[in-house]
């Protein structure tokens, strides 16, 4: 459990960091909080030549509320989200999901950018990015560009990020007041990775029917998923017991998880249906 040897750089500017990555042509890895990368190195699942530590890039630590988004700097940690009182109204779904991320000590170092770049299929932050149609802002040697979450996650631990690119910001679209939302996760122990979880929201029209439904799930595929067939059940419907039962059935029909050491595929399939059911009940009971 000792890491393989590597060189270490701690650049003071983003352009320096990008130049280091570009110069190593895939041989360098970005070190943010290290809470996923260091275990990978300890298991020797990766052996980069160089780690580029972003800890001096303090610009990446800010949480900005703009007129059209909640913009999380890539180096924002879970404990920063937890302690930012603005986010409870600016993005309650994010706050609820982040409450399930990892254990106390890891929350003091783990970052949103690191989680997005790591792309664990059972991790909460990639799930929130998918559900909320986040834009992921990356900086590379060709400059900055944004990648939609739906294009970013390509498989287990596999993303659209190129070797010379660094995630600098995750932008979640503005959260209107009165939006209904739910987050439900099941893990054997609080803070562990989800066996399955559901993150969802919808708005209400004048007739009390759901519109703009977004339903995302984690832990049931090689990447976080949006479930359009479940959203179709919700849109235009009153969210009552009958609709929730239909949504649960649509959820289990839409996923086909593999079996692994933690749970059978059949169990996860049933579980994620229950997570969507409970998240919808949570949303329906809200009094905005």
């Amino acid at each position: 459990m000792k890491m393989p040897p590597f060189d270490y750089a701690c650049p003071a500017t983003l352009s320096e960091a990008v130049a280091l990555l570009a110069a190593h042509d895939g041989g360098a890895k970005v070190l943010a909080g290290g809470q996923s990368l260091v275990p990978i190195l300890a298991f020797r699942l990766a052996a980069p030549k160089l780690l580029v530590d972003l800890r001096k890039l303090t610009d990446l630590r800010t949480i900005k509320l703009t007129p059209d988004s909640v913009a999380l700097g890539a180096m924002v940690r879970w404990c920063d989200i937890e302690s930012d009182a603005r986010l409870h109204s600016a993005h309650p779904l994010l706050v609820a999901a982040v409450a399930h991320v990892a254990h106390y000590q890891i929350r003091n170092r783990g970052t949103v950018g690191g989680s997005i770049a790591h792309a664990d299929p059972a991790a909460e932050m990639p799930g929130i990015a998918m559900t909320c149609e986040a834009e992921i802002v990356v900086m590379g040697k060709a400059g900055a560009h944004t990648i939609k979450a739906a294009d970013f996650f390509q498989g287990a631990l596999t993303t659209a990020l190129r070797a010379d690119e660094i995630i600098i910001e995750i932008r979640l679209p503005l959260w209107p007041a009165g939006r209904r939302w739910g987050f439900q996760e099941f893990a054997r122990r609080r803070g562990d990775f989800a066996l399955a979880a559901a993150a969802l929201f919808y708005d209400m029209d004048a007739a009390g029917k759901a519109t703009n439904a977004h339903v995302g799930v984690i832990g049931v595929a090689d990447r976080p998923l949006r479930l359009p067939s479940v959203e179709a059940v919700l849109n235009g419907a009153i969210i009552d017991a009958a609709t929730i039962a239909k949504a649960e059935a649509a959820t289990t029909a839409a996923v086909d998880p593999d079996s692994d050491i933690h749970a059978s595929g059949a169990y996860r399939k049933a579980l994620v249906g229950t997570m969507v059911e409970r998240a919808l009940k949570m949303a329906a009971e809200q009094t905005p």
Binding site: M1, D7, L31, Q35, V38, L41, A42, Q105, I106, R109
Partner: protein, 157 residues
């Protein structure tokens, strides 16, 4: 690489390979063997130390990342006069058996109680869920932390 940081109030400079974890640096270079290394991949919590006042897993941090930080280990949470209130509470409740997990329990509990001296039993259990005790003495550990809360109210430690 040369790295300087503060450990338990003492400025240190160490020459380490970049791949050396802070945990191994504390134990092997600085001889602070109170910090225990269990799983070495961020699961067991035995290696918890405080970095700039926050509880972190020292096996998931490189020593070179500690440059300029203030690190406090379990040795830094004891004194020569006797037991601290947290230590005394662990003793009173029998909150340790083999003692391997205890340094991580103490550092984690200290960080929690310093920030949240009014925390309830659920919060203590949630925070300590990241620290494994294989003697399975969690009930007594939670009781010890709850009783130590009184010493953290008003002024820390």
């Amino acid at each position: 690489m040369k790295t300087r940081f503060d450990v338990n109030g003492r400025e240190v400079e160490v020459a380490v390979e970049p791949r050396l974890t802070l945990a191994d640096c504390l134990r092997h270079h600085l001889r602070l063997t109170g910090t225990h290394v269990g799983c070495e991949h961020g699961v067991c919590g035995a290696c918890t130390v405080l970095v700039d006042g926050e509880a972190v897993r020292s096996c998931l941090m490189l020593a070179v990342q500690a440059e300029g930080s203030k690190v406090v280990t379990v040795e830094g949470l004891s004194n020569d006069q006797g037991l601290t209130p947290l230590q005394a509470s662990f003793r009173k409740h029998g909150a340790l058996q083999c003692g391997f997990c205890t340094p991580g329990m103490i550092t984690t509990a200290h960080a929690l109680l310093s920030e949240e001296p009014d925390c309830d039993a659920d919060r203590v259990r949630e925070v300590l869920s990241g620290n494994l005790c294989r003697c399975t003495g969690y009930v007594s550990i939670v009781e010890a932390v709850l009783e130590a809360r009184a010493a953290y109210k008003g002024s820390a430690r």
